[in-house]
Amino acid sequence: MAEIMYWEAIRRAHDEEMANDPMVIAMGEDIGVVGGTYKATTGLYDKYGEDRVIDTPISENGYTGLGIGASFLGVRPIIEIMSVNFAWLAMDQIFNTAAKVRYMSGGQLEAPVVIRSPGGTAHQLGSQHSARMEKVFMGIAGLRVVTPSNPRQAYGLLKSAVRCNDPVFINEHELMYNMKGAVPDAEYFHPLEGSEVARQGRDVTLFGYNISVHWCLQAAEQLSKDHGIEAEVIDLYTLSPLDREGIRNSVSKTHRAVIVEEAEPAVGVGAEVMAIINEECFFELDAAPLRVSALNIPIPYNHALEKAALPNAGDVVEAVRKMFGV
């Protein structure tokens, strides 16, 4: 198992899938000659040529629609949207075409596209480069949404997403492309549904996804050290469909839940996981579930204000202490 970076894992998945199937193409802004804003397609342009590694014009709805149309004929496009903030412009084609075409054609057409995009907040990029849109994507029937929290998942989820016949949105993170982690040397396909236990625990479950898994893990260590509270951390790498069974199993064991999301609370991952807990295992609860979320504001530029707007590991610790009254 080699330790590689998140971006290298994504690049490796592209490379293997493009070598495996001549119908796999990559497209997006500055992904070819430049190799991608976060290097995720480095070297592929030279290897596979401009017809398969396509530098697109800055036309998000246009090239996303083009990729979807191509997928009707068996092409398998991996579309990079440079920043998730720009994906708003492609919403028409993602929601109105990719997510619905199988249904409204009575199963005749499918859109096996992969759309990947960095989806979190970085540092001081300002309001229009700091959107967290996972809540938007996960609310749409007909679209799969996954969000890797480490290089192994980033590699294996992209591999499976390329081969799956559904449209898949992969929510990546600007701050995570340089994160290192072990990735199997042998070819590996990560399931597109489910969740992973990132840390075993018995006292409370911390639900995280993508970057917030890391905040949960940090918080769990501190809670163990300072209070002897052993938190279980569940990595919800699939946001749609959410893993009801995984959520139920962990809460049935710990009887307490805190959901940690990088986005604003309204209509988000936390709200959805709480609803599932209610539906699946309400009577297992020893305490009302809590969520740790961003403030409901556009992200500010000022460093201190930005920090105040976003949750962190300390906020998770605070929430758990409040829940236990310690």
Partner: protein, 330 residues
């Protein structure tokens, strides 16, 4: 095209006209629900272009005004009507409706309800053709008002840039719902708007089948020979309101009369009569035959067909049993 062939086309066009008129009645009878957009007046556009192309081989994609394009692409009219009647036997199994006719076996890639949505999809289908190396082309029929969407410009740019085999056909009926083109669009001649993308284009009378056929033959040849996209603007008019919920009160009677006098069916009929290929009586018989066929076969089939079972309402959302969902484990 030989006159005998044109007679066949006239019959098909008349069938399309009667089919659409029967849809109107079925809507009033409440057998068809939702939004219903009809095609009478514009028949020479779809027929002229698709006669010049190879329906069933070439890919066709269009908007919500899609019944006739599907039928001309090879769809069974009974199954198109069944779709409008929301039946399981409909082309889209009753899940699509009037605006979402799909018949992929005949390479009819769908009717789409978002104005301008098919522009990039058509370019993408053309990209797929290009990758597969076939000689098919993709034909995208859309209205005039759709050209004010960003997708129009984004798609023309990419189609030209990547030399994609796509023919964009603009059915310019002078209105987007009730807004006349000169009130929504700075450049009235749509074919001129594509010159900014180095795409060859032409404007033609969309009421005259012969002229459309000729212009489309040139356009299809251009695209099929690998020279990249082409844009064909056809000047036409719809004889009914935009959809069934449209009052149609915004058009001048004089304008409507002028266009009624240019009915594509009558133009072709009279030409064939003049050429001695057809008599008035033959045309009448043809009409009676078509009306009977629509009633006895099309409407009967749609009426007698079952509705989709409610127990299957969650089918077709995602791929069934896709092994990659479980990481490739079967």
């Amino acid at each position: 095209m030989k006159n005998a062939e044109k007679k066949r086309v006239l019959r098909e066009m008349l069938f399309a006209r009667r089919f659409e008129e029967r849809c109107y009645e079925a809507y009033v009878e409440r057998n068809i629900g939702g939004f219903l957009h009809l095609y009478p007046g514009e028949e020479a556009c779809a027929f002229g272009v698709l006669e010049a192309a190879q329906p069933g081989h070439d890919y066709v994609i269009t908007s919500y005004r899609d019944h006739v394009h599907a039928i001309k692409s090879g769809s069974d009219p009974r199954r198109v009507m069944a779709e409008l009647f929301a039946k399981e036997t409909g082309v889209s199994k009753g899940r699509g409706g009037s605006m979402h006719i799909f018949d992929v076996a005949n390479r009819f890639m769908g009717g789409y309800a978002l104005v301008g949505g098919p522009f990039p999809l058509a370019a993408g289908i053309a990209k797929g053709i290009q990758m597969q190396g076939g000689d098919e082309i993709c034909i995208c029929f859309l209205g005039d008002a759709a050209n004010n969407q960003g997708t129009f410009h984004e798609s023309l740019n990419m189609a030209a840039l990547w030399n994609l085999p796509v023919l964009y056909v603009c059915e310019n009926n002078l209105y987007g719902i009730g807004t006349r083109i000169d009130r929504s669009t700075a450049v009235i001649d749509q074919y001129k708007r594509v010159s900014g993308y180095n795409i060859p284009s032409a404007q033609e009378d969309g009421q005259d089948f012969d002229l459309v056929y000729k212009a489309a033959s040139k356009a299809v040849k251009h695209v099929r020979s690998g020279k990249g996209p082409y844009f064909l603007e056809l000047m036409t008019y719809r004889y009914r309101g935009h959809s069934m919920s449209d009052s149609n009160a915004y058009r001048a009677k004089k304008e409507e009369r002028m266009w009624s006098g240019r009915d594509p069916l009558i133009i072709l009929r009279d030409r064939l009569i003049e050429a001695g290929e057809l008599t008035k009586e033959e045309f009448k018989d043809m009409d009676t035959e078509i009306l009977d066929e629509i009633e006895d076969e099309v409407i009967r089939f749609a009426t007698d067909s079952p509705e989709p079972p409610v127990s299957e309402v969650e089918q077709f959302v995602l791929a069934e049993n896709d092994p990659w969902v479980r990481g490739g484990v079967k």
